[in-house]
Symmetry: C2
């Protein structure tokens, strides 16, 4: 009985989760939908509609008890079954993502980083080790990793993707400003930072 | 005669731009809409529809001449009038964004970085200097900067945002996993990396 969630619902649920996290840190036990709506500058009815979706996965009086609502969102978004991933490219962006506070809490388990630069090999960041990229095929198999987060420079994006695909990577979260050519059984998700930025500024000027 | 572009159109146009950039590097002069469609795994009619939007801003036979199509997209998306921005937080993510190949080509002109950590002050990354955050109010005024890219740790996000707002920052591109409380005349764009990731994995498993 899996519910297909739209992009927008997923993003809102993640934001609700941020708010609930903050409430828990402040030891606040209850929250109302208008409080959430106000913080996000959206309509209260939207919040209630989203929370209603969660009722399918939990039995608590969601929409009021902070901890319970947080748990319901986590269940709905699959945080309990984290997915293993590798970061390819241990530059600033790769390092930033490896350090990113709480990817693990959100269902993304970064196992290791890879780089072609030997001087970066064996560096440890946030308990994750940088390996020579040559070791990737073997480690992907051993650790059962099918997700790669691509943060190499633009000029190396396609050849790195080709190498990942040969190593049985099936999902590429692409942070490079390139469109990758991949076979039909490989899924690419373009993290389009520039598009996001433009959406932000073009619609507010 | 400004056309309001949806999020999806902007993102697709940015991806077309990546492809055109690549074609120019390879000295390929012409491109067809089916070629673009195939690379992005979308419908040809969608590409033609998007390109049609551009006809309003250019006179060349767009959809065929690579350089001309690229220029039309740049005009449509406002790359010719770059916006000035500051990065707040010179950690890995802030540094990665400061280095990000070509934000400037895409209309985002990062003027400087700011940090509270004195050991980072005066570091130069990609021709951009890190300043003590105390200098921000003055520099924002002098350089006429209204956009801040927030990459500080979660725990400092709200107090940093409060400080930015006091310094007349009007747009916050928020990379922290928090929901910021801001007055109604300040626009926050949440760069929801976790939401993006979840959308990617939840809908492909």
């Amino acid at each position: 009985m899996k519910i297909q969630l739209t992009d927008k619902v997923i993003k809102r649920l993640t934001l609700y989760h941020y708010i609930l996290f903050d409430y828990i840190e402040k030891n606040i036990e209850f929250i109302s939908s208008p409080q959430i709506a106000k913080l996000l500058n959206i309509d209260d009815s939207q919040v209630r509609k989203d929370i209603k979706l969660l009722n399918n996965t939990g039995k608590c009086k969601v929409g009021y008890e902070v901890k319970c609502l947080k748990k319901s969102i986590e269940k709905m978004l699959g945080f309990e079954n984290p997915k293993n991933a590798f970061i390819i490219g241990a530059g600033n962006l790769g390092m930033a993502l490896a350090k990113y506070t709480n990817f693990k809490d959100y269902g993304l388990n970064i196992m290791a980083l890879f780089d072609i630069d030997k001087s970066k090999v064996d560096v440890v960041v946030n308990f994750k080790k940088v390996f020579d990229v040559e070791k990737l095929p073997d480690l992907a198999k051993k650790l059962n990793v099918e997700i790669a987060i691509l943060t190499v420079p633009r000029a190396y994006a396609q050849e790195t993707a080709d190498f990942l695909i040969k190593s049985n990577i099936k999902y590429i979260w692409n942070f490079t400003p390139t469109v990758l050519k991949v076979p039909s059984d490989v899924i690419v998700w373009n993290e389009n930072l520039i598009g996001n930025f433009l959406h932000f500024t073009l619609n507010h000027n």
